[in-house]
Symmetry: C2
Subunit: 431 residues, 2 copies
């Protein structure tokens, strides 16, 4: 087998065999195939696409390019979750406690956030003392005992994805649905859970804004998951506005606690409960979706989910004295300049504004200020009066305040007419 | 300007601006754009193609990526020639002496051959003492005095082409007509001649076998040449069989001397005279093609071309005691196994067989045995009897003899029926 012949096939839009894909992935990782050959492959694939069979083979081969986590010695049904990323998306911190309380095992590795706002690990890191860098054995032991753990991705997991992703990022080959599928699913496959729910975002704050493309990504990921023997579903959920009201790490943890106390924003509750319910259905714990969702809400109402969350925090070294979560020095309201209706959000710009305040990082080496961020109390279709606060900026310095305010004013559009019906929060469930 | 945005444009089949192409070429050469970004560009370009404007911009920018030869202080009309490469193609050694004798200036840089048989430099190197590594000033002085010189390409010429070609070779992006055009034409542009004739080969021994694609390459090169202000024409000539009878370095020089003495194979004479005539037309020396070709033949017949050839050889340190050209130890005839007609040649395989005997190099570091090679005395359509020699193998050892014989037997097809009319030797002239 010869890499130039493989590149010629892909260049000519022919499907590669599983053996050819294996040769390519192995060679890329061991260095016998050069980066400049890998990018020629990625560009040809980005242009011509990949068949389902190619995508499955690529996913499998990437998953096996490094360490594979073996959860077989953890009793019970292991459940994993992935979100394609959104603004204010903190559902993992709600739904893992719910399904752990329901008797499933929530075992999740997470990355740090880049662009937009912080990732799940950044949110947890705002809890004083919380550690994400557990050894695998410690992680498994915690899942066994408490039913849930969220840790950072280990270095040895899916080296092929690290390599491919770094090259895609600098060669305009990121936005390929099969390559995104292989990137996400290879990590999920290496994680070794039994059940996986994918939260695929669409709309102005999503990685893939277009509804149809998001659906294609959801379908392809579910197909690949099934091809590897996992039970999986994908939910298409709206990112036309932030999920919940809080955008920023400690602010989001507080909102999570609100939900776990039976309160909190309705949209956030709905998505978190729906994902938890889908996990219960896939795990065979419930047969009926409405019933499963009601059960998720019950678990929260009973305080059992909050208890699981606190168990996880304690097990990972964090303090459950949540009053000690970091708080910003100043809260600046940003008010509407005219009366009207909230017509649309540029949700990505809201995430960007939060990043400017210190809630996210532009590049890997930037540090995050866990106390900073935004509360956006308005939702699409809301009637607002002039001077009504559209957002509260939680800040520790005024460095980027002007820029963030300008960005937010542009990102939250007020119109005179009553808006058309907005995009559904949960557009569809693919399984 | 940003390389990722440029790659995204090319990925989406949008035409790049001249500025974007300049940014890419400059960055590739100075290292600010990585090889893995260059190959993503090459693959996207190979798949989607390039507009005429893009190809011209790429050619110009590549030409200016390194040293530019300035021939303005050499009086007269400077003439250059390029062949896309063929088996037995030794026309440069005939036509440059002709046009020098006609008063034009033949100034040519040449590469060493890879694959197939030797390049022009390898042929000249079979002449004892001949040197191709002249300094530019010495080269120009020789062109001034004798009217012609052929030297090896200097290291500083078109570094962008060296870089791109090395990357294309290992990423299945060689066979792109615009990229081939930019590669050839950037070197010709850096060479700075006034008149250029391109010999674009088609058929079984050509780089581009397909007649239509060869035509496209010829058209694109002529268009780019004109865009840069050069006077240019392209001739489409047949590589359905070797040109002349000799394939191998000293053997080819001997055949050149035959032609310069007014003899030699008819097909070789025809192509060499036609190219020389085209140069005279472009230079304004003659107005009529038939007249120009007759004039080229006259110059040969008069001995003036031979004299120019000898002047060049002497000026470059070579011996004109041509009896001292290297000779192989053994000549082995390969005979027809049946009577019939020569129906077709696999011309590339004939070149490959000659390479096996030592006349060419598989990789850059291989050495050439100038005495070895083939004489193929038969032509398409010839009637042959059983036992009639189809080829004579000139060898210094029997190492690859069996393989070469097997390859030749397969490459020269004998059929019972009189063959259909063969492809024309000179298919077309594009100007």
């Amino acid at each position: 087998m010869n890499i130039v012949d493989i590149l010629a096939k892909k260049r000519d839009a022919q499907a590669l065999t599983a053996d050819e894909i294996a040769f390519l992935v192995k060679g890329a990782v061991d260095g016998s195939i050069a980066d400049y050959q890998v990018t020629a492959f990625l560009m040809a694939g980005r242009i011509h696409g990949f068949t389902k069979e190619e995508t499955l083979a690529l996913t499998m081969e990437m998953a096996h390019s490094g360490e594979m986590i073996d959860l077989s010695d953890v009793e019970g049904i292991k459940v994993d979750k992935h979100s394609t990323g959104g603004v204010g998306d903190k559902t993992s911190l709600i739904l893992l406690p719910i399904i752990a309380a329901a008797g499933l095992k929530g075992a999740k590795m997470s990355g740090r956030g880049l662009g937009h706002t912080g990732g799940t690990l950044d949110k947890l890191a705002s809890i004083p003392g919380f550690r994400c860098d557990l050894a695998i054995d410690t992680f498994k032991e915690q899942v066994r005992k408490t039913g849930l753990s969220i840790i950072s991705q280990t270095d040895g997991l899916v080296p092929a994805d690290k390599l491919f992703y770094a090259l895609r990022d600098v060669t305009a080959t990121v936005d390929s649905i099969p390559l995104i599928t292989a990137s996400i699913m290879s990590k999920k496959l290496a994680m070794g859970a039994d059940v996986l729910v994918l939260d695929v975002k669409y709309g102005s704050g999503a990685l893939i804004k277009d509804e149809q493309e998001s659906r294609m990504l959801g379908e392809m990921m579910v197909e690949v998951a099934k091809g590897t023997g996992m039970k999986a579903a994908a939910m298409l959920t709206s990112m036309e506005q932030p999920l919940g009201m809080a955008v920023g790490n400690a602010l989001e943890v507080k909102e999570v606690l609100d939900v776990l106390h039976g309160e909190g924003p309705q949209d956030l509750r709905e998505v978190a409960f729906a994902i938890a319910a889908e996990m219960m259905l896939l795990a065979g714990l419930k047969q009926n979706r409405a019933e499963a969702r009601a059960y998720a809400a019950e678990i929260v109402q009973s305080g059992a989910a909050l208890q699981k969350f606190e168990q996880m925090v304690l097990a990972q070294g964090g303090s459950t004295e949540f009053d000690s979560l970091p708080v910003a020095e100043q809260i600046i309201p940003l008010c509407a300049e005219k009366a009207g209706y909230i017509g649309s959000f540029d949700t990505a710009a809201i995430g960007h504004a939060a990043m400017l305040l210190g809630a996210g990082r532009r590049k890997k080496t930037d540090s995050i200020d866990p106390a900073t961020g935004l509360i956006v109390p308005v939702k699409l279709g809301d009637r607002v009066t002039a001077e009504q606060p559209l957002a509260y900026l939680h800040i520790n310095n005024t460095e980027n305040l002007q820029d963030a305010c300008r960005m937010l004013k542009e990102a939250i559009c007020i119109q005179e007419d009553v808006p058309q019906k907005t995009a559904p929060l949960i557009l569809d469930i693919i399984n």
